[in-house]
């Protein structure tokens, strides 16, 4: 009986509706958490697995020795490598293609690489406008590496002690 009256009074005074509206009113004046994407960006972890790059040694020599470990480990068969002996007797790639349509960005190629040649960068804005843009050729991979060597070196050094 008493409980019934209490419940009735609670319903008639719309107490639950009012407490709900109090919450929305509080959030109304709260600081907003929206990130205005093209102008603002959220921080990216050093382990972020974005677009691939092929790195070089500081003297300009490309790191990749065409061991094909990345090709072997790639679960999506996205990597195609052809190699030959260069004039100085070292083994080098003539073709190093990554098909971005196949790639699942697992990062196994980076882990398999014995010379830290293939890496995944923090770049994630790499839209292309035709279907053949999906093939990252050796030239394009090297260019990504050359353009971002500073950043790549820094993030790989940050993450090195956890590997």
């Amino acid at each position: 009986m008493i409980n019934g009256i209490k419940k009735l009074a609670k319903n008639l005074t719309l107490s639950e509706l009012r407490s709900g509206m109090k919450i929305t009113a509080k959030e109304f004046v709260n600081t907003k958490i929206t990130v205005q994407y093209p102008e603002e960006k959220t921080p990216i972890s050093p382990r972020f697995r974005g677009l691939h790059a092929l790195r070089r040694y500081p003297n300009g020599e490309e790191r990749c020795i065409a061991c094909k470990l990345c090709e072997a480990v790639c679960p999506a068969n996205a990597i195609t490598i052809e190699s030959e002996m260069r004039d100085d007797g070292t083994r080098r790639t003539t073709q190093y293609d990554i098909d971005l349509f196949k790639c699942i960005f697992c990062g196994f190629c980076e882990e398999a690489c014995p010379v830290d040649a293939i890496v995944e960068t923090q770049i994630f804005e790499y839209a292309f406008e035709s279907r053949d843009g999906s093939i990252m050729t050796k030239e394009r991979l090297l260019k990504v590496g050359d353009d971002n060597e500073q950043v790549i070196g820094k993030i790989k050094a940050q993450d090195a002690k956890y590997r």
């Binding site: 509706l17 929305t24 009113a25 959030e27 109304f28 958490i33």
Partner: protein, 359 residues
């Protein structure tokens, strides 16, 4: 030029003999209608912007801010988009009824504004039965929705139309009874008289003796305008879009306009009925009254209705949708008995001359 004018006058006399050659009266009416409809449609446009902003803020977002400075041109971009879109007619739908439906929805939504008193002596027309006019014309709007559901020749619109019809039947009664109490106090169904009767400070406004009726009126207004949390007519997650499913482009935009015009109307009506219309809240407070004496009454009316319009958005941002049978139960088992009881209470208070309201 002169001949053209004369033929216009003759034509007007032919069509509307009761004007008795008084073309100036017609021109004045047209100007009044224009002065009413233009700001109304502009308010509707920016009300949609305000809705997106307010709801966004309540959900910790910031809402539209890309089109123009701070997104102020967003409603204009929306309108342009809707205007340039194709109007698709469902195959085997009745095109005439299909096109008549949005017109039937918007025409009453705008026509009702003719009797709203914005300030002392500022109205399009002063009907003696303006409250009845509001209720009568206001309920015609639902024909637009029912017709839209029927003419679309599609299952979800039909379901929406059925829901809309039953909601109207239930809640028109509640609104009617709630407003009867106002009429009992004011002793008039003329909106001008009702507002004039609330003169003399905030204590004389009707929301004090009629507070439960005010709450019921507001909630019923939410139902009547198909707003969240009672938007079962559209019921996005249940019946896709209800009566709007088959409508695209400008036909959809007209429904949209009608809905928002109705919302603003209900907000203004709540102020007129319960919150003293154009009267300043500082009346009878000595210094404050003279300090705010320069503010025209229409500003007070609009400021008070803005609060109610905000309340619409606030409610929408807060509550989940009611189930259909819950809405029905609310009307028949809760609101209707409450209003009827309150009518008797008001009658008793009138007989006993309680407070400043029942003098």
């Amino acid at each position: 030029m002169m001949e053209l004018w004369q033929s216009f006058v003759l034509g007007v006399n032919e069509l509307m003999p009761w004007f008795d050659g008084n073309v100036a009266a017609i021109v004045i009416i047209l100007i009044k209608a224009f002065a009413l409809i233009m700001p109304l449609l502009l308010t509707v446009a920016y009300f949609t912007y305000a809705e997106r902003k307010v709801i966004g803020y309540m959900q910790l977002r910031i809402g539209p801010n890309r089109v123009g400075p701070k997104g102020w041109l967003q409603p204009i971009a929306d309108a342009l988009k809707l205007m340039t879109k194709e109007i698709i007619f469902p195959s085997r739908a009745n095109i005439y009824l299909f096109l008549l439906a949005p017109i039937l929805a918007i025409a009453p939504a705008i026509a009702v504004w003719a009797v709203i008193p914005f300030d002392e002596g500022i109205y399009v027309t002063n009907l003696d039965v303006s409250l009845l006019y509001v209720l009568a014309i206001g309920s015609i709007g639902v024909y637009g929705i029912i017709l839209a559901g029927w003419a679309s020749n599609s299952k979800y619109p039909l379901l929406g139309a059925l829901r809309s019809a039953s909601l109207l039947v239930s809640y028109e009664i509640v609104i009617g009874f709630a407003l009867v109490t106002v009429v009992m106090i004011a002793g008039s169904v003329n909106l001008n008289t009702i507002v004039a009767d609330q003169q003399g400070g905030m204590l004389n406004w009707y929301f004090i003796p009629l507070f439960p009726m005010m709450v019921i009126f507001f909630i019923s207004a939410l139902v009547e305008t198909n707003r969240a949390p009672f938007d079962v007519v559209e019921g996005e997650s249940e019946i896709v879009g209800g009566t709007h499913v088959e409508y695209s482009g400008m036909t959809f935009a007209v429904f949209f306009l009608a809905e928002y015009a109705n919302m603003i109307l209900m907000a203004v009506l709540a102020v007129v009925m319960f919150f003293g219309g154009w009267h300043s809240p500082f009346e009878g407070l000595g210094v404050l009254e003279s300090a705010f004496a320069w503010v025209p009454g229409i500003v007070w009316l609009l400021a008070k209705s803005t609060f109610f319009m905000f309340l619409y958005l606030w409610v929408r941002a807060t509550f989940p949708r009611f189930r259909y049978d819950q809405i029905m139960r609310l009307s028949w088992k809760v609101f209707l008995p409450m209003t009827i009881v309150w009518i008797f209470v008001v009658a008793l208070m009138t007989q006993l001359h309680i407070g400043p309201w029942f003098a």
